[in-house]
């Protein structure tokens, strides 16, 4: 590992916003109150701003305005050390899901989650990335999917789904309007969503396709903080979309995939797309508003609640759409406390679920979510992120809670009047 490489990335990553953030922090500790890992363990090392300590030290030592005078007086923090970075590997990767709840509680408005992301880039430079993420990156670069799903496997699963719903699904169809990408978790565990999409799009009269060259929506490069990997993965989607001449790429029910493609993607590949990125929830809501899809008059009577995926709702800006859709298919939709932009993370975002070392902490941290759920007492939990869904199911199982977790797209398809 290389401390100097980390220092270099830390310094390169200081821009005006990072500098303002690191300068404005008054060490008030409010962020701890927002962090699910702190809440679950009570361990002060999980205080979000403490996770930025290496970055803060580098900034205050090398970059901060007036640090020259302070350095001469010996008042700057010590240089970060190898041991320190090793210690922070756990703090930056295992105990932060980049959920960004700390950001909204901060009186100074510091985007701590954003700085954790930047800190992870330095960890990559230092060579301190959890095995699980390194493995996922290797698989996605070599095979095309972090879970090792090959194009042939995808074709098989899509074929099965097409048969299931009785609607043909064309792969690699040039000239379709929409290109669907999927998260590996959906393809492997929640593949019914493919059939659901086929039914919805058929009714709406939409032409769509899936590329066998870029079917993976997740971006492990974003999670681990490796810009190169991130850019490569975005570029794959851009190339495929251009090759198939689609007008839209639909970001699926996956939190960080939306951030990666829509918000960070153009900056990563260095150019604007010649297609539009639309999130599946936005698209469904739009189709409903335009009257292109109709649902049955009979609605779901179960007491359901909605788990907001952080990167789609809080940090994605898609707040109202899932609620519109849920109210359309359910007549017993109850919001949980802190719903919407302040909702609590499932515990597995930001690459934590791919990091087996973090599993125990992740399960333990479910306590915050459990408290929210217990207060509502739902009969089903709806969400819009394959990763949240998987993480929630695992945790519910661990806590012996009998609660089905549903994907919103599938739920909409279930009540489709076709």
């Amino acid at each position: 590992m290389s401390v100097s490489a980390a220092v270099e990335i830390f310094t390169n990553n200081i821009d005006a916003s990072a500098a303002a953030y690191l300068d404005a922090c008054v060490h008030c500790g409010q962020c701890a109150q927002a962090c699910l890992f702190f809440e679950a363990t009570g361990d002060v090392k999980y205080t979000p701003v403490w996770k930025l300590e290496p970055m803060r030290r580098v900034y205050k030592r090398h970059m901060a305005p007036l640090s020259g005078i302070k350095k001469a007086l010996g008042l700057v923090p010590d240089e970060i050390s190898e041991d320190m970075l090793k210690e922070w590997e756990e703090l930056l990767y295992d105990s932060c899901t980049l959920c960004g709840r700390c950001t909204i509680v901060c009186p100074m408005g510091i985007d701590i989650a954003g700085l954790v992301r930047k800190s992870r880039e330095a960890m990559v430079a230092a060579g301190l990335v959890p095995e699980g993420l390194v493995g996922a990156a290797e698989r996605v670069l070599a095979i095309g999917s972090p879970l090792g799903i090959k194009p042939e496997t995808l074709a098989k699963i899509v074929g099965e789904q097409a048969e299931e719903v009785g609607i043909p699904i064309d792969l690699d169809k040039v000239g379709a309007d929409y290109m669907i990408i999927l998260s590996a978790m959906e393809v492997l565990n929640f593949y019914e969503v493919i059939g659901a999409l086929a039914r919805i799009f058929k009714q709406a009269g939409i032409t769509w396709t899936i590329s066998t060259e870029a079917y993976e929506a997740t971006n492990v490069g974003i999670q681990m903080g490796d810009k190169k990997v991130a850019a490569t993965l975005v570029q794959r989607i851009v190339d495929a979309a251009e090759k198939l001449q689609v007008k839209y790429v639909v970001s699926p029910e996956c939190g960080h995939a939306y951030s990666a493609l829509n918000w960070e993607g153009p900056n990563l590949v260095g150019k604007s797309y010649n297609f539009k990125v639309i999130h599946i929830l936005e698209l469904l809501d739009q189709l409903v508003r335009e009257g292109r899809i109709k649902t049955k008059s009979e609605r779901d009577h179960r007491r359901v609640t909605f788990h907001d995926p952080c990167q789609i709702v809080r940090r994605g800006g898609i707040v109202q759409e899932p609620r519109n859709l849920l109210n359309m298919v359910s007549d017993n939709f109850i919001e949980m406390e802190n719903c919407g932009t302040a909702n609590i993370c499932c515990g597995g975002g930001g690459g934590v679920s791919s990091n087996s070392r973090a599993e125990e902490l992740r399960i333990k941290s479910f306590i915050s979510k459990k408290r929210q759920l217990d207060a509502v007492g739902p009969e089903a939990l709806v969400t819009a992120c394959g990763n949240c869904r998987n993480v929630l199911e695992e945790a519910l199982d661990e806590f012996e809670m009998d609660l089905p977790v549903l994907g919103l797209t599938e739920l909409v398809a279930e009540y489709l009047d076709d």
Partner: protein, 357 residues
Amino acid sequence: MVESMDKRLTFKRLACGAFVSVLLVWVLSAGLTGSFDLQNEAYAQTGGAVPGKTLGNKSDADIWRQMRQGQSFNLSGTAIGTPVLIQSPGEEWRSLRNGPLSYWGGLLMLVSLIACIGFFLVYGRIKIEGGRSGKNIPRFSQAERWSHWFAASLFILLSVTGLFVMFGRYAISPIIGKEAWAVVASACLEAHNLLGPLFVVALVILLIIYMKDNVWQKGDLSWVFKGAFFSDPPPPSWKYNLAEKSWYWLLFFAGLAISGSGLVLDFPWIAERVQQLQLAHLIHGGAAVVLIAASLGHIYLGTIGVEGALEGMTQGTVDENWADEHHGWWAKQVMGSTETDIDGSEQVAARDEMPAE
């Protein structure tokens, strides 16, 4: 080896005891005979000699007598109205304040300080016998810690400024001169008056939060009979032992007295007559010296006196072994009601339920 250490320790105790006894006899006799300078000034002015060049004028003497007896005079031609010109009981107050109150009060605090030092010399720092277990149990909630430090910080500020006002004329004025002393006195008085009302608020919050655990319980007395601080290991007690409970109730009564009298002095228009102010002042000073003297012991035991005690008031948790050794019954209660390893989420949840946060 062990035996010789025991002997050495016994000798140390005896020596310290003898020293303290001699000191006590000396200061007590000094107080009774009034051989200290600080009383002389007061005596000088109670002899009836009144300053002023009025000797030989009979009617002057009559008027002076009337003034001294507190009779009011009609000065209606002036803006003053009909004032009481000389407040004779004020002289009594002054001699009490500058005499016994200052003397015995100062002595009390000094004895307390010496007792702390003596205790330290004899017993040293009381260590956690079994060493640290590494496991912590919660002792003070955040509300308890915050109210404690709020009251404590104001207590310290008010003690320092108050002591300056009370003893500065003897201890500081001679060193820095009267003019400089006037500056210091003005400064201390202003700070004391400004911060005083805050202490009243802090104290009331503190008293409410801590009352529940300071009610006397069965077993408190056995802590005393089994040797209190002087026994090794310390006898078991509840969350607070009887000494701590006494400190609470001292704070309760003397603290409320000092607060009430302080408010009267800070907002003097509350009082109807000047004698009430004088009385308030004596109560204030008396309660202050008692509280400061007791606080020295409290501070000593909470910091250097007992290993592992301070962290309860900073982090909120104490080592299990510490709890077991110093507050055995309480420790059993706490450890019995929770799993040995306190879950963080439980703490957070408990904090959420706490109203006073």
